[in-house]
């Protein structure tokens, strides 16, 4: 240290250039290890920089601090860059690792897309006051037909259109409306329920038909319900499910257990109308069959097919994928927005 007294700022600059020179001159791994000790070790150059800061007069601390920090990060960056350039040596000095090895992926589990969609539908309807309920898949003729205004000899009871069982007067339910009947039998009114579940019809299997599919059926019974309530509920539901811009329209149709009956069409912005389900006012005969006075109570019901909804939502062209259980399919759909 010749000449005049060196100020702290000059000393910072000198220590920094000393360190950078050492780093630049390290020729091999061993030299660089030694340099690291001299620079970044316990009483190395970086530590001395920090000591300078500690000793600096109070007034100069902010400016010295800035200089020290800048110098320190410059030095450490240079050290790492040099280490990388010489190669093979990690900071801890252990053996090298091939960072280009493929990652060992942790595959999370996932839920079936129909489960995810069903949960979503149930949660939207739950926000509208509908309580989830369930009924058996193997039903008797009273709940599947008679109480739903489908008398004996009605074409809907055709052997070829239902899965009747051998030896017992039961069948696999052809619609979840059976659960409506059970709810009306056992619950107090008014009520708002939904019944998600599997239904079975002996359809020929192709890209858009399956003998097994999932429905969500809703039922509301109260003293003064009208089609306006039905339409308002459907609109609120589809907006909750698909977005605020959705439009809903009812198109007259026929179901034995509702009258008037309608098909529900929905339209997303910029797209055409698509059929999304069926609905209607509970037929007085259904009320009468379970001992509910149709003059005192009114109700509406609606049903939609989950597979059809899922096919449109995920862009799946073939319904069979949902029962194929190809893990690639299940994983592909997992985590998609619903």
């Amino acid at each position: 240290m010749t000449g005049g007294r060196e100020g702290p700022a000059e000393e910072v600059a000198r220590l920094a250039s000393e360190a950078l020179t050492l780093i630049a001159n390290a020729a091999d791994e061993a030299a660089l290890r030694r340099v690291r000790q001299e620079v970044a070790g316990k009483s190395g150059l970086v530590s001395r920089l920090m000591a300078l800061l500690a000793a600096a007069p109070r007034a100069e601390k902010p400016s010295i601090g800035q200089a020290v920090n800048r110098a320190k990060s410059e030095i450490l960056a240079a050290l790492e860059a040099r280490e990388a350039a010489i190669g093979g040596t990690s900071a801890s000095g252990g053996p090298s690792e091939d960072v280009t090895l493929p990652g060992r992926r942790l595959e999370p589990g996932c839920l079936h897309p129909l489960t995810v969609l069903e949960e979503r539908v149930v949660s939207v309807l739950s926000a509208l006051g509908f309580e989830a309920t369930e009924g058996p898949e193997v039903e008797d003729e009273f709940h599947n037909f008679i109480a739903l205004n489908i008398p004996p000899d009605h074409p809907a009871r055709d052997e070829a259109d239902n899965f009747y069982l051998e030896g017992v007067p039961h069948l696999l339910r052809s619609q979840t409306s059976t659960v409506q009947v059970r709810a009306l039998e056992t619950r107090t009114l008014p009520l708002r329920i939904i019944a998600p579940g599997r239904v079975f019809r002996p359809d020929e299997v192709d890209a858009t038909h399956h003998f097994l599919f999932h429905q969500v059926e809703g039922l509301a019974v109260d003293a003064d319900l009208s089609m306006a309530d039905l339409k308002g509920t459907l609109l609120a539901f589809f907006r909750g499910l698909l977005g605020e811009e959705v439009q809903v329209r009812l198109r007259p149709s026929f179901f034995p257990f509702t009258e008037p009956s309608a098909e529900v069409d929905v339209r997303l912005e910029g797209r055409g109308w698509v059929e999304a389900g069926g609905c209607g006012m509970v037929d007085p005969a259904v009320f009468t069959a379970v001992g509910v006075d149709p003059e005192r109570w009114s109700g509406f019901a609606f049903g939609l097919g989950l597979e059809r909804l899922a096919m449109r939502h995920y862009g799946v062209a073939d319904i069979r994928w949902f029962f194929e259980n190809d893990l690639r399919f299940l994983r592909r759909l997992d985590g998609q927005r619903v």
Partner: protein, 670 residues
């Protein structure tokens, strides 16, 4: 059904729209037009007529709907019939032996016919809607059916034996050769049209070959009848026959309109085939009673719709459908026409009024829910099960309920006889699953084939079986099936984690099950009841499923677990002091299960002992033949303070002594 746009237009007075407008009118009043295809100056609609509307299975019916929507009048086809000669009954007699099945039978005789091809306009009209043309006589009967909805049948009069046509039940042993060449054996429940000697046709479904109209035919007995819908449907099903006629009779034709349809056909036969209609046709059974009038409260449609529809408007819409409406005090008294047999109750009329309303008539009303719905316990449990399994890396699948009778033999949770469906869609799979195992094995196999195996898969689904005793109905159980390749312990770990999360304390007791390997399966017991099984799938079952290695499988009864699910546990603070661990290698004989060792240690009631884990299982020369080394880790931790080594060592010594003395184990500190 297919509908010709031009034909409908001809039946309407003053239609000025285009096909697209008609399509919309029909679709938004309840008759969906699924497709509209241009065809030679016409447009052919494919109409989806709902099953309650038999009256719409003809062009007049469709025209009536359009007329109602648009407020137009109809141009009903005229039957310009000039009858001549002796009465029909002089040429043939008619009888109804089964008035319950054939409420009305009309027979009219037309003579002097010249059978040949139909004129061009008639042929093209029928061909446009997909009806095969045969000859002018048969084409006329088809034409009238497609125009008015009444199926007709023409018998070659010369080949009606004994001068008699009768509607009767078939006799046992009778058979009939049909128009399509097929010969059927008749059932005593079939209704036939027969002559004096035998059946000529299967009533309402298909005529017989022996009396069909041929080039040589000069006179016909024209049958126009009304049959009981259920009879026709059952016969059609019994003989696997479907025809345009049966389609209509099954849905109920207009009994009152049968004779008018016959007159319409006769007039066309006169016009196109040179025939002469004889007067006084047979009419057995007659048109039947007038439809009952229906009371309608004028405000009812408005209340059901939830919008204002004035009484005058209600009346206008009903009248536009051809219903007659009069006032009876405060009520409307409504008489539907005979062809609308679907209109019986007040609500039927309400529906008619509402469906004819303009688009947007029904507003959207939003009412807030009165209360937040209670969660469904079963669904909540299944959701928790699914979520937990997915978080443990398992993938949910959904298989179908149908399995082969052999696969239906697998049963772990319910033991009634397998249920079978009468009409399986997949040959060889008529049974309902009693276990989720067969489905999961198949999924595992398919994914292995596609190179995506090695993943734990699960399904949450229902199992079915018949009643085990007495006359109780079928039994259904909600179950979880879980299948994984690899060690049993890994699957066990998933199940243990799941049960712990559900707050169910279950232990596994060895048990044997068909489908699971002997000595490698057990039953989960909780509160003395079986809640599920776990084991290695047996080699034969795996092989039959096409798998090279046998996976591990567990099946749990979710209904039962739901009932046992523990309450929410209040949080117990874990210790904040360090845990101390000691490893021991315990060499015991091969037949000592881990559970024995665990229960020995538990019985010592060691102070601050918090856990026992197996971290390695070793067999080999170092421990000797018939022995194994269970390498265990004991964990100690106190919530009162840091434990001393001396205290832990003392506890470990007690363990070593006990295992050596009681199990004859050789214990080494790790």
């Amino acid at each position: 059904v297919l509908v010709s746009y031009r034909w409908v237009c001809e039946l309407l007075d003053g239609w000025s729209g285009d096909p697209e407008e008609m399509r919309r009118d029909l679709t938004f009043s309840g008759t969906e037009i699924e497709r509209a295809e241009p065809r030679e100056g016409d447009v052919v609609f494919e109409a989806n007529v709902t099953s309650n509307r038999a009256d719409e299975l003809c062009h007049l019916g469709i025209a009536r709907e359009v007329a109602a929507v648009r407020g137009l009048a109809l141009r009903a086809p005229a039957a310009a019939l000039s009858e001549s000669g002796p009465p029909s009954r002089a040429a043939i007699s008619a009888r109804v032996e089964a008035p319950d099945l054939a409420p009305r039978l009309t027979v009219r005789v037309i003579e002097g016919l010249r059978v040949g091809p139909s004129p061009e306009w008639l042929r093209s009209r029928l061909e446009a809607i997909g009806v095969r043309t045969v000859n002018n006589v048969v084409d006329v009967t088809n034409y009238v059916m497609w125009e008015l909805g009444q199926p007709l049948h023409a018998f070659d009069l010369a080949r009606v034996r004994g001068g008699l046509l009768q509607a009767r039940r078939a006799c046992a042993g009778e058979s009939l050769r049909l128009l399509n060449g097929q010969t059927i054996r008749l059932d005593p429940e079939d209704l036939v049209i027969a002559d004096a000697e035998g059946p000529l046709g299967l009533a309402g479904i298909m005529g017989g070959a022996e009396s069909e109209v041929m080039a040589s035919t000069t006179a016909v007995a024209l049958e126009s009848a009304h049959f009981q819908p259920a009879t026709i449907r059952r016969s059609a099903r019994r003989h696997q026959l479907r025809s345009d006629a049966s389609h209509r009779f099954e849905r109920r034709t207009d009994r009152a309109g049968a004779l008018a349809a016959s007159a319409r056909a006769a007039s066309l036969l006169q016009e196109l085939c040179g025939g002469r209609a004889r007067p006084e046709p047979h009419d057995l059974g007659g048109p039947g009673p007038e439809p009952e009038p229906i009371c309608l409260r004028p405000d009812r449609p408005a209340r059901v719709a939830g919008s204002a529809i004035a009484a005058a408007e209600v009346r206008r819409r009903l009248e536009s459908l051809g219903l007659s409406v009069s006032f009876e005090g405060d009520l409307f008294l409504v008489r539907p026409p005979t062809y609308r047999s679907d209109l019986v109750r007040e609500i039927d009329l309400v529906e008619e009024v509402i469906r004819l309303g303009p688009p947007g008539e029904i507003p959207e009303r939003h009412r807030l829910p009165a209360r937040a719905p209670a969660p469904h316990p079963g669904r909540a449990l299944r959701r928790d099960v699914r979520d937990r399994l997915a978080r443990m890396g398992c993938v949910e699948v959904m298989t179908v309920d149908f399995v082969s009778p052999a696969a239906a033999e697998f049963a772990f949770l319910l033991f009634g006889p397998p249920l079978l469906v009468r009409n399986p869609v997949r040959a060889g799979e008529p049974a309902l699953r009693r276990s989720l195992l067969p489905g999961l094995l198949q999924v595992n196999r398919q994914n292995a084939d596609r190179g995506t195996a090695g993943v734990a898969i699960f399904e949450v689904g229902r199992l079915h079986a018949g009643a085990t005793a007495g006359d109780a109905g079928p039994v259904e159980v909600g179950a979880l099936g879980l299948l994984r390749d690899g060690e049993l312990r890994d699957l066990r770990g998933i199940v243990d984690g799941l049960l712990a999360a559900l707050g169910v304390d279950a232990e596994l007791a060895p048990a044997s099950w068909p489908g699971l390997a002997r000595g490698a399966a057990g039953r989960f017991l909780a509160g003395g009841r079986s809640v599920g099984v776990l084991g290695r799938v047996d080699a034969e079952t795996a092989r039959l499923a096409g798998l090279r290695t046998a996976p591990a499988y567990a099946e749990l009864d979710l209904d039962r677990l739901g009932a046992m699910r523990g309450p929410v546990q209040s949080f117990a603070e874990p210790s904040r002091f360090p845990a101390m661990q000691r490893d021991l290698a315990v060499v015991v004989s091969e037949d000592t299960p881990f559970a024995t060792l665990a229960s020995r240690i538990a019985a010592l009631r060691l102070p601050d002992f918090t856990g026992l884990d197996l971290f390695d299982l070793y067999r080999g020369p170092q421990v000797g033949e018939g022995r194994k080394s269970l390498n265990i880790r004991l964990t100690f931790q106190s919530s009162a303070g840091t434990l001393t080594s001396a205290a832990v060592d003392a506890a470990v010594s007690a363990v070593i002594r006990d295992l050596e003395d009681r199990l004859g184990a050789l214990v080494r500190k790790g």
